[in-house]
């Protein structure tokens, strides 16, 4: 049975600004879930706080709209307790790379089998357009009184350095590619990161849809705009670590870092890096707790007729006088 796309949509009124890139992202999420036919009750969207944070209310699966910056903490806890769930965390660039940057790095170290999508719009949308951690140094978006004084963080490079095992970039207005990237991210065994370039027509008047499609950069000969966005899959770029060797890993990490630095005239999208040879967190736990995956926290029986059934007698025996 092919799932219906409409099954994954809620009737909640969407109050994003007209033309906001967020619409493309939420559509891509819904399309990906439908295409993968993930049962609605076996999926959950966790979101941070910001314009992007509202995403969970628009998808008709379990939806947990958490705290500003903390989305990954809630999402990982849920996934570890119930590994059967398909979990997608979604949040803003301020959410994940500003206030939540510590959790971002720590999540990379764990490599929990789930997906994290950052809505990268260069601004703090919901608080009216302050600079986000991804806004480039010296840029002055619409509501900034002065140009940005901070260097921008490179989300792709940070994800790679933190240990994410799938690192990709999408573009909010290329919903089809984005949908495919989300599917690849969800299917990836380990923690997947998706940096989604998300124009915010209200506050980011620099990295606009027109800018991404190169409207300011007309080819003299063809008189056509030269799009900044291009796809890695259209080049001979191979993001995958195929063999478990230091050399192979070095090569793939280095090329991904170099690619991640590309910005300006040419902006790559697609998968930068993927390594399934690193054990996901559940595997590391299963090495210690052999039946973890069959009997994870959320399905364990803890009581019979209101009485505990956990046997702690051995622990008590060891304390017995």
């Amino acid at each position: 049975m092919v799932s219906n796309l409409s099954d994954y949509k809620t009737e909640v009124h969407n109050d994003w600004c007209p033309g906001c890139g967020d619409f493309g992202i939420v559509n891509a999420i819904q399309m990906a879930l439908a295409e993968m036919e993930v049962p609605r009750d076996k999926a959950a969207i966790f979101s941070g706080v910001g314009c992007s944070g509202k995403t969970s209310h628009f998808v008709n699966v379990y939806g947990i709209h958490t705290l500003h910056g903390r989305v990954m903490t809630f999402a990982q806890g849920a996934k570890l307790a119930n590994p059967e769930m398909t979990i997608i965390a979604a949040g803003g660039d301020g959410d994940g790379l500003g206030i939540g940057a510590g959790h971002f790095v720590a999540a990379g170290r764990r490599n929990v089998d789930m997906t994290y999508i950052i809505f990268n719009n260069g601004v703090y949308g919901l608080t009216k357009g302050q600079a986000s951690p991804t806004l480039k140094l010296g840029l002055k978006t619409k509501s900034l009184p002065e140009p940005n004084v901070n260097q921008a963080v490179n989300p792709i490079a940070l994800a790679i350095a933190s240990g994410f095992t799938f690192v990709a970039r999408g573009y909010a207005y290329d919903v089809r590619q984005l949908k495919d990237l989300i599917i690849a991210a969800v299917k990836h065994r380990g923690l997947a990161f998706l940096d989604v370039l998300q124009p915010c027509p209200t506050y980011n008047d620099i990295n606009t849809r027109d800018w991404f499609s190169g409207m300011d950069n007309i080819n003299e000969m063809t008189k056509k705009p030269q799009p900044r966005i291009y796809k890695l899959e259209d080049t001979n770029y191979d993001p995958i670590v195929h063999i478990d060797s230091q050399e192979e890993e070095n090569e793939k990490l280095t090329q991904a870092l170099i690619k991640s630095n590309e910005w300006g005239e040419k902006i790559p999208t697609g998968i930068f890096y993927q390594n399934e040879l690193i054990a996901p967190y559940d595997q590391r736990i299963a090495d210690r707790i052999p039946n973890y995956l069959e009997n994870p926290p959320s399905v364990q029986e803890i009581t019979s007729n209101g009485k505990p059934i956990t046997d702690i007698s051995r622990m008590l025996d060891s304390l017995q006088i």
Binding site: R40, Y62, G63, T66, G77, N82, S304, M315, L319, I321
Partner: protein
């Protein structure tokens, strides 16, 4: 047979085996049927600063420490400088004889303030500013001195066993000190040897070496010294006795009551519990597959509580465990759990604040913080345990409260309980019940509403992964489905719904669980948490002198059991509040909720737990009408 009640203290540099020695001592006494109440004090330091362990031993039930030391065992100078004055006049000091010429200024870890007091004291006694002078002052009071050259014992032992390595095994000094002490106190040596064996059970070679040393030192002491006034002798063992440390009590309580997920960030004195749980992460389950608890060490306490909430949303019993600084970081998420009605348990092992305060010292500093942490009005339960037995059984109650009333529960414990070692009756899991409230196993309806209206404020609770159970949560105010709503009428509905749950909780939680009534009389103590033990012991001491004092231990602190407490104290004329913080945090709750005001306050905020002796002294002053309204206790090194 004369009764036994003595306190043995061993001190030494942190990391020097003080704890091992104390465990050997306590283990030997406990194996002889004696009751143990021991307490560890240490600096926020890993190696070198002074730490000590006081073990009180008795043939009767004891629940606290006393002022004073019966026998001090010291293999470093600092222990003598710091504790000699605390030894009873008829007490004893067993010490390394090489230390005698040491001067105060030769001990770099003696802090400025203490040094000043020590110099003043020794000067007033006309004594030299050395170990010699300190010991002379003690001797003058009648203290028995037992100079022992532990180093000579080591080298004799090395010769005898032809094991020259032993000569430099200073780590063994602690075993020697215990053994000489037990020799002087005449506890039969077989219990000592068994205790040594069980402490080193994981390393058989080391166990053998230490047993040999223990036996040698024990025989040395019994051969050399005449019978000392205080003696230890075995008594009839009570069946089903366990000896444990406080942090293990809540850990065991969590495992047995079905906590299957705990996330934490390291902090003293809370993280010992999580480490203990991780060491016991798998276990058997009756008629079931083996079970396990997932323990996750997170990047900070914000993540710890976030993960706990995430796990709880899947229907898993989930908890986190922290101390003051970590709890402060958790406060935003606590409110999220409140507004989304997520059952989580936060075990809060309090220590001395504010800020990092006295990081390794005791305090009941966080009652008001537990009640008020987080912005906005949301319901929570704050529940305080008085000792490790309560720690075990109350943990199960806290999970029941969390799931029944669908709100965060803060379980207050503290450093005093965490680092107490005591003999207690073996915990009985059969006394525990597990109540999961309106947690759903199955849903029929096609229109599930997570926050559906109900008279008691409680809606059926789905969990992530349940068929037809899809719901939404948000930190924003939300409608019955959990979608954002700023509608004023909905706001009233949701605020009232959450508040109703708290009223329902207060009606539902039994009186016995709200507070423990140890008898009410004209004078009545009201207190909470770990002051319980020293208060009960102090009351017993007064009872022997013909004084009656009532005592109510409040366990449920939020919602406050106003009606029950009012009904209990109706007959009391004088209310005495006892607690280990500066502002009398319970006292202000009492004054807020009760008609009768607190008459006397007994507080302590030195970072050291209260002893029964000092509570006894201050109560006596009140009974004799000689007390100030507020008495501040100060005992303890």
């Amino acid at each position: 047979m004369s009764s036994i009640d003595l306190t043995w203290v061993i001190g030494g540099p942190q990391g020097g085996g003080v704890e091992t020695a104390a465990n050997i001592f306590a283990g030997a006494c406990a194996a002889s049927g004696l009751k143990i109440f021991g307490k560890r004090e240490y600096y926020s330091n890993i190696k070198g600063e002074h730490s000590y362990f006081g073990v009180r031993v008795s043939d009767k039930t004891i629940r606290s420490n006393v002022n004073g030391v019966t026998m001090l065992a010291a293999f470093d100078a600092e222990t003598i400088f710091r504790h000699a004055d605390d030894v009873f006049n008829d007490g004893a000091i067993v010490y390394e004889s090489d230390l005698v010429p040491m001067k105060i200024e030769e001990v770099p870890t003696l802090d400025h303030d203490f040094k000043k007091r020590l110099v003043k004291y020794l000067t007033s006694k006309n004594k030299s500013l050395t170990i010699q002078g300190t010991l002379d002052a003690a001797k003058e009071r009648g203290v028995h001195l037992y100079p022992v050259s532990f180093k000579t014992i080591l080298s004799n032992l090395a010769d005898e066993t032809q094991n020259p390595k032993l000569r430099g095994m200073f780590r063994m000094l602690n075993v020697l000190a215990v053994s000489v002490s037990l020799g002087i106190l005449s506890l039969p040596s077989d219990t000592l040897l068994k205790s040594v064996e069980s402490i080193f059970s994981k390393k058989s070679q080391i166990a053998e070496m230490n047993k040999h040393a223990a036996n040698y030192a024990y025989n040395f002491a019994t051969a050399k010294y005449p019978k000392y006034k205080y003696q230890l002798s075995p008594i009839q063992k009570e069946p089903d006795t366990i000896m444990l440390q406080g942090f293990q009590s809540t850990g065991l309580g969590k495992i047995v009551s079905g906590c299957r997920f705990q996330s934490y960030y390291p902090i003293t004195p809370a993280s010992d519990e999580s480490v203990f749980m991780e060491s016991n992460e798998t276990f058997d389950v009756e008629n079931n597959r083996p079970g396990s608890t997932m323990i996750v060490q997170t990047e900070d306490e914000i993540s710890a509580i976030g993960m706990t909430i995430g796990a709880a949303l899947t229907g898993t019993r989930a908890a986190t465990c922290t101390s003051g600084p970590g709890f402060s970081l958790m406060s935003e998420a606590l409110g999220w759990a409140g507004i989304n009605e997520v059952p989580i348990v936060v075990t809060l092992y309090q220590r001395s604040g504010p800020s990092t305060g006295l990081p390794t010292r005791h305090g009941q500093d966080d009652l008001q913080s537990a009640i008020h942490a987080g912005h906005g009005d949301f319901p929570r339960i704050v529940y305080a345990s008085g000792d490790m037995e309560e720690g075990f059984y109350d943990t199960a109650k806290c999970f029941n409260f969390a799931e029944t009333f669908q709100m965060p529960v803060i379980h207050l414990m503290d450093k005093f309980i965490a680092s107490t070692v005591a003999t207690v009756k073996r915990f009985d899991p059969k006394k525990i019940t597990i109540e999961r409230g309106k947690l759903l196993e199955k849903i029929e309806s096609e229109d599930y509403k997570r926050f559906a209206s109900s008279p008691d404020g409680l809606s059926s609770r789905s969990r992530l992964g349940l068929e037809k159970g899809i719901f939404w949560n948000t930190g924003d105010e939300s409608d019955e489905y959990g979608h954002i709503s700023e509608d004023p009428e909905n706001r009233i509905f949701k605020m009232d719904k959450r508040a109703t749950k708290l009223e329902f909780a207060l009606k539902t939680i039994s009186k016995e669980d709200q507070a423990t009534n140890y008898g009410v009389s004209e004078f009545c103590i009201i207190s909470w948490g770990s002051t319980k033990g020293p208060i009960l012991d102090a009351i017993d001491m007064l009872k022997k002198e013909g004084f009656a004092i009532g005592f109510i231990q409040i366990k449920l602190l939020q919602p406050f059991p106003t009606d029950y407490i009012k009904s209990l104290i109706k007959g009391s004329k004088t209310i005495i509040d006892i607690e280990a913080n500066h502002t009398a945090q319970l006292g202000s709750l009492l004054n807020e909720h009760l008609d009768q005001k607190v008459d006397y306050y007994i507080v302590k905020y030195t970072g050291r737990s209260m002893t029964c002796t000092e509570i006894y002294d201050s109560l006596k002053k009140i009974l004799q009408n000689k007390a100030e309204k507020r008495q501040v206790l100060t005992y303890g090194v």
